[in-house]
């Protein structure tokens, strides 16, 4: 088993359907134990890429390695190491949720004892006890997504592929999903996730944007924000006497400071810990009241990226 820093790697990954190129020369690297957001508009090639990564679809060209396995050569071998949740959670209709769980446990070769232990944990965590006896087709979408997410981890895989796990999920459950994803990552599991809720990009360690099957951005969310926006604008409400003092305190180190009718305004490319520390000191010693931070949200950045890529 390899201990390489990257648990997923692709080189020149390409998929053509007839004369349509769905995925075009894609090179990505996913760090072990990280949360990797894979984003793009509908039809940009996200799901096709995931299906190749998990060995369900054979690429036209390129190389894929997942958890040390050459996926193109051994498409089946990778499946023991991964958990996958598709856009449409695959539960068998006509079977109850519990029967579905037993079916999947059988596929993964889980012992009865392991199944009992794992499922009681997951059932509790995802509040699925009440619907365990319901048939799959009777589960509302939000609950089906919860069940789908729980099922990805029955066999404790090292890599999770989650294709829009939060689509159609309410805000409260989305927060719980992400809390759980963060816990998995903290435990060393790598999470490869797609979403159309752009605020979720900021919950991830890394983000790759694709359009028309090609990579158009690939970096940490903050680095992308820095590149495609004017960064952060911080308004500090301050009494007149303090404005000059705070300006000089915060002024150096590439911070743009202006005075406003209510205090000072800083414009900075990023909110790094050093700057936050100095801001904290100012707020504790000087500021009477409010701090307001404004930044460009990922929705806007995504639009900018797409517009540039399609120009």
């Amino acid at each position: 088993m390899s201990d390489a820093p990257f648990i997923i790697r692709t080189r020149g990954l390409t998929k053509r359907f007839g004369d349509f190129t769905a995925v075009d020369d894609l090179a990505i690297e996913v760090a072990r134990g990280s949360i990797f957001a894979f984003l793009g508009a509908n039809g940009s090639g996200k799901s096709t890429t995931i299906r190749m990564l998990i060995g369900l679809l054979r690429p036209t060209a390129g190389a894929i390695e997942v958890a040390g396995i050459d996926v193109i050569r051994h498409p089946r071998r990778v499946r023991d190491h991964i958990g996958y949740m598709g856009q449409h959670v695959s539960l068998y209709q006509g079977l109850t949720l519990r029967e579905n769980v037993e079916f999947y446990a059988g596929l993964y070769g889980l012992s009865a004892a392991d199944l009992a232990r794992r499922w009681s944990e997951l059932r509790e965590r995802f509040s699925l006890g009440r619907v365990e006896a319901d048939r799959a087709e009777d589960l509302p979408v939000g609950i089906r997504q919860r069940a789908g997410l729980a099922l990805t981890s029955l066999h404790e895989p090292r890599v999770l592929f989650l294709d829009e796990p939060t689509a159609g999920v309410d805000v409260h459950d989305r927060a719980l999903f992400w809390e759980w994803i963060h816990e998995r990552a903290a435990a060393g599991v790598t999470v490869f996730v797609t979403t159309h809720y752009m605020e979720e990009v900021d919950y991830c360690d890394w983000v790759a944007f694709i359009d028309a099957g090609r990579l158009i951005a690939n970096d940490e969310p903050e680095a992308i924000r820095r590149r495609y926006s004017s960064g952060y604008r911080i308004d500090l409400a301050l009494p007149p006497a303090a404005r000059e003092r705070v300006s000089t305190r915060l002024g150096p180190a590439g911070v743009k400071v202006e005075t406003t009718p209510h205090g000072v305004r800083l414009t900075v490319p990023g909110l790094d810990p050093e700057l936050l520390e100095r801001l904290r000191a100012c707020v504790l010693e000087e500021a009477e009241g409010s701090v307001h931070v404004a930044r460009t949200e990922m929705t806007e950045i995504f639009r900018t990226l797409l517009a540039e890529a399609r120009r």
Partner: protein, 333 residues
């Protein structure tokens, strides 16, 4: 609710005491919903709250019980054939004919509704151009991307210019750009039709004229997004620092913190207003949590509102005790 209208015209929706059971399970109970003018009504709530069931009931797909249940003048407890012809419905699962092209799906819908050819042509052309589906008119609908499928489904629903449009999570799994286009399509029709839609996106909920919050099959709140947010007993804070996950864990231990959610650079913390210290003290307390550096109050929004509703928290009242006379506005039940 009083109609601020002029002459009495039949309401779009007038439902009182609606109940729906599936076997022994009660999916909807005691639901009141009155829509008297064209507007966008958002149906929101946790998974399993009954949103889909309510939407299906509105278009006459379910047998229900109610003390009153008329939609566009048709009684839901009687013959609903006429209602189905007058309503546009977009269910959660894509239900158009995959083998038919974009244009053929529109034509099929036009025939079902017996639209005269000239009306069909002009209306279909209009919808193809505003949805951006024009270049794809010959493509089989099964081969469209997720966002385009939804645009086509909505275009088909809008084709006969229905007075009521019912949509079940029309934008789930749809990208930001297509979502904005779909929303613009709805906005365009909201002056002549009542639009009832479920959504899990907070930005879409905020764009509705009115929100109905369902939980456990019951209507727990009904009001404009602004009124619901203003009444929420939670105040959101954003705490910036170098270890948001540690900050979130510590925050959850504070007696006045209802929830804490870590993002990349900050933690969003929901503070129960009635229990919290003064704003300045609170700001300092939050900024000194582990991993935290700067605390920033945010204006109340729907995220706090929905969290409060899901926890059954009642609005903040001055002086602490709840109950008694309530100000008009959002109804919290």
């Amino acid at each position: 609710m009083n109609a601020e209208g002029t002459a009495p015209s039949p309401a779009f929706i007038r439902i009182h005491g609606l109940e729906k059971r599936f076997g022994t399970r009660r999916a909807l109970a005691d639901v009141d919903l009155v829509v008297e003018r064209p507007e966008i009504v958002g149906i929101i709530g946790p998974g399993g709250a009954g949103k889909t069931t309510l939407l299906r009931a509105l278009v006459g797909l379910l047998e229900i019980r109610a003390s009153e249940a008329t939609v566009l003048g048709h009684d839901l407890r009687g013959d609903v054939t006429g209602l189905k012809a007058a309503t546009g419905y977009v269910p959660q699962a894509f239900s158009l004919h995959r083998a038919l092209s974009v244009e053929e799906n529109l034509r099929f819908t036009g025939r079902l509704h017996r639209l005269p050819e000239s009306d069909f042509r002009s209306r279909a052309q209009e919808l193809l151009s505003i949805t951006g589906l024009e270049p794809f008119r010959g493509r089989p609908s099964g081969a469209l991307s997720g966002g385009m499928k939804q645009k086509l489904a909505i275009a088909c629903a809008l084709l006969p210019s229905p007075r009521l449009l019912v949509l079940d999570e029309p934008t789930a799994g749809v990208d930001v750009v297509a979502r904005a286009e779909i929303w613009a399509l709805l906005e365009r029709d909201k002056h002549r039709a009542a639009i009832v839609t479920s959504t899990s996106y907070l930005d879409e909920a905020a764009a509705c004229d009115r929100l109905v919050y369902l939980q456990d099959g019951r209507v727990k709140a009904d009001g404009t997004p602004a009124a619901l947010s203003a009444a929420t007993p939670l105040a959101p804070y954003r705490v910036w620092g170098d270890d948001p996950r540690a900050t979130a864990r510590a925050a959850r231990g504070l007696p006045y913190v209802a929830a804490a959610r870590a993002s990349g650079r900050f933690v969003r913390i929901e503070v129960a207003r009635a229990l919290s210290p003064s704003p300045l003290t609170l700001q300092r307390a939050l900024a000194t949590l582990p991993g935290a550096m700067l605390a920033e109050p945010l204006p109340p929004d729907l995220e706090s509102t929905l969290l409060a509703l899901s926890r059954g928290l009642t609005p903040a009242t001055r002086g602490g005790s709840s109950g008694g006379a309530r100000a008009p506005g959002p109804a919290w039940q």
